[in-house]
């Protein structure tokens, strides 16, 4: 409880008396003269320039008194804004994975009927990436995707349709045609994300090209490879060289600018190459996996060859489509089974057999998940008894412990026209 002293009980009286007494005194004569001198030289502002004339008074009142900022406060405020902006930018800026090694799993893209779709690896969130398109390939940093779009109005009955090679953001937005109206194989990325390579010609493999992924330069012809047709090249890990499977059964290495083309394979193959690409580079760039057919109509076998000039080694007969795991410690490839389709086999980095995964699938390129815990493979005859049916993508455990997970990959049997070479492309995210 508070009590006022007798002197503050008459506060109002005291205050009024004090102010009245303090107010006494003359007003300087010069004050009015000064006001009149200043106002006589100017005129009132026109009414339209005065906010009070057209803004409600209550709003105008809120503007009074106006704030006056000191320079120091303005600088501090600007610094705070700059710091907050920097934090937001850094926080929202996506980290990118390195081109090799273990990464986090992003989305998968694959061919479903005549369209490209994008979905989560658990089969949810399906979105259409592009229609009448094939051969999707995520860049190694996961930010872009390349594919080819079929130009249905440019169909050659002997060689099939022409295509546009397209690069889009990973979610399919902002597609840009990098190469227009060519008969191209699978467009594949350089690991540094700057280039695409593809083979193209009347019969798809007449020539091999490198083109800037942003379409800023004309395609570079990698040469004639002894007058033979090259098949979809693959970039070395440092993006400086390419491996090229050529139609006379030879495997070549060529610089990105088309120079120093030379044969590295030793045996006299009928054909070489894997289904989706010429050969698979090991992440350290020292070895290549490739399929080769030595005897006509006897099927492919999987070989490994180094760049040291030594001859290739047989990894597995009746096998093909070898791919390295993200960290290079393992190999996955397809091997013929008992007539129900090939199985997925896991080997170590030297090619030594480790295990065969359960199930029979199709002769497609398998795809490792970026975190190396799954292998995706397409089964185009999943019905009982190996009958044709709606295709599925199987996600297999490379350790052979977990049961496969199956994702629907379309509601119709796969037609030859839209049969993909590579099962899926798996987006890599920063670990």
């Amino acid at each position: 409880m508070t009590s006022n002293s007798p002197r503050t009980d008459n506060f109002d009286t005291l205050m009024t008396a004090w102010l009245d007494a303090d107010a006494r005194g003359p007003v300087p004569d010069v004050l009015l003269e000064g006001v009149l001198a200043r106002t006589s030289r100017t005129r009132p502002l026109p009414a339209w320039r005065i906010p009070e004339r057209w803004i409600p008074m209550q709003l105008v009142l809120r503007f009074q008194p106006r704030m006056r900022f000191s320079p120091v406060l303005v600088v501090v405020a600007l610094l705070i804004v700059a710091v907050v902006t920097a934090v937001i930018l850094v926080g929202t800026q996506r980290r990118l994975p390195p081109p090799f090694g273990i990464a986090d799993n992003g989305q998968i893209a694959f061919v479903e009927g005549d369209r490209l779709v994008l979905e989560n690896a658990d089969g949810t969130g399906l979105t259409v990436l592009a229609t009448t398109s094939q051969a999707p390939a995520f860049s190694r940093d996961g930010t872009k995707i390349a594919y080819k779009t079929i130009l249905t109005d440019q169909f050659n009955p002997d060689y099939g349709p022409s295509v546009d090679v397209v690069v889009a953001n990973a979610d399919g937005s902002y597609p840009k045609v990098v190469v227009h109206a060519v008969r191209a194989g699978n467009p594949l990325w350089s690991p540094d994300g700057r280039w695409l390579t593809y083979s193209s010609g009347e019969n798809v493999g007449d020539h091999a090209y490198v083109v800037a992924a942003d379409g800023s330069s004309a395609p570079i012809d990698l040469g004639d490879f002894g007058g033979q047709d090259p098949w979809t090249p693959t970039f070395s890990p440092d993006s400086s060289k390419l491996a090229v499977a050529v139609g006379d059964g030879t495997l070549w290495i060529v610089n990105r600018d088309g120079t120093n083309a030379h044969i590295i394979s030793h045996q006299d193959y009928i054909e070489v190459g894997e289904r989706g690409l010429s050969a698979a580079w090991s992440p350290d760039g020292t070895h290549l996996l490739f399929g080769g057919m030595l005897v006509p109509d006897q099927g492919y076998s999987l070989y490994m060859i180094g760049l040291d000039g030594a001859p290739e080694r047989l990894i597995s007969s009746e096998s093909n489509n070898g791919v390295w795991s993200p960290d290079g410690s393992m190999i996955a490839y397809m091997r013929a089974g008992i007539g129900l389709g090939p199985s997925v086999v896991i080997a170590d980095s030297t090619g030594k057999f480790l295990r065969s995964l359960s199930g029979y699938y199709g002769w497609y390129m398998p795809e490792w998940s970026p975190d190396q815990t799954r292998i995706a493979i397409l089964d185009d005859r999943p019905a009982p008894g190996n009958e044709p049916g709606p295709p599925v993508i199987a996600l297999l455990d490379p350790l052979g412990k977990a049961d496969p997970v199956f994702i629907p990959a379309g509601d119709k049997p796969i037609s030859d026209e839209y049969s993909p070479d590579i099962t899926v492309t798996w987006q890599r995210l920063a670990h």
């Binding site: 006022n4 002293s5 002197r7 503050t8 506060f11 109002d12 005291l14 205050m15 009024t16 008396a17 004090w18 102010l19 009245d20 007494a21 303090d22 107010a23 006494r24 005194g25 003359p26 007003v27 300087p28 004569d29 010069v30 004050l31 009015l32 000064g34 006001v35 009149l36 200043r38 106002t39 006589s40 100017t42 005129r43 009132p44 502002l45 026109p46 009414a47 005065i50 906010p51 009070e52 004339r53 008074m57 105008v60 009142l61 809120r62 009074q64 008194p65 106006r66 006056r68 000191s70």
Partner: protein, 183 residues
């Protein structure tokens, strides 16, 4: 009569405005001096308020509210002068040509001293509301209009200012022995 002068001034008649200024300038100067506690800065504030009035008089929508509008301009000018004084450091005292206020014989020297010290501790907003209410005798609603703030804000400012002044008076009125000093 006043309305006629205001309307003529709004039409650009400087003579009419000069008459309005002559009528108002004494009150404005005193109010400014009471708020700012300094004659020179009060002169500046008064002059700035009247110049602003002339420049913006066509923004006045109701000529009958000329005085309230002028008070708002003056209080805003006092705010600017007070900030300018703070940025300069201490406010200088100018007494040339101005006679010292005449003391009220009913007020003791001690009261004036305590009120002065208490009042100087208040900020400009609190001083303004005390002056408008106790010196000009404006109601809280009229003071709110003059200050350009809601009536509730004026009430709270007046309450805080009054409390501060009472506290100043009470503190100075305490027996000196209570402060541990010899009587």
């Amino acid at each position: 009569m006043r309305r006629d002068l205001v309307e003529r001034a709004m039409a650009g008649d400087h003579d009419a405005f000069a008459e309005l200024a002559r009528i108002s300038i004494g009150r404005l100067f005193v109010v400014a001096r009471l708020i700012l506690r300094d004659a020179a800065t009060a002169e500046d504030a008064t002059q700035e308020a009247l110049v602003a009035a002339w420049r913006n008089i066509r923004g006045l929508r109701d000529p009958d509210r000329f005085d309230a509008w002028l008070h708002r301009l003056l209080v805003n000018a006092c705010h600017r002068e007070a900030r300018r004084g703070r940025s300069r450091g201490a406010i200088e005292l100018h007494v040339d040509g101005i006679e010292a206020p005449q003391p009220d014989p009913n007020l003791g020297l001690l009261d004036r001293d305590q009120l002065e010290r208490g009042f100087r501790r208040l900020d400009t907003d609190q001083r303004a509301v005390l002056v408008l209410h106790y010196y000009l005798g404006l109601s809280l609603d009229d003071a709110a209009e003059a200050l350009g703030v809601p009536p509730g804000t004026v009430r709270s400012r007046l309450h805080r200012a009054t409390q501060a002044m009472r506290a100043a008076l009470d503190a100075d009125a305490r027996p000196r022995a209570a402060e541990g000093r010899p009587a």
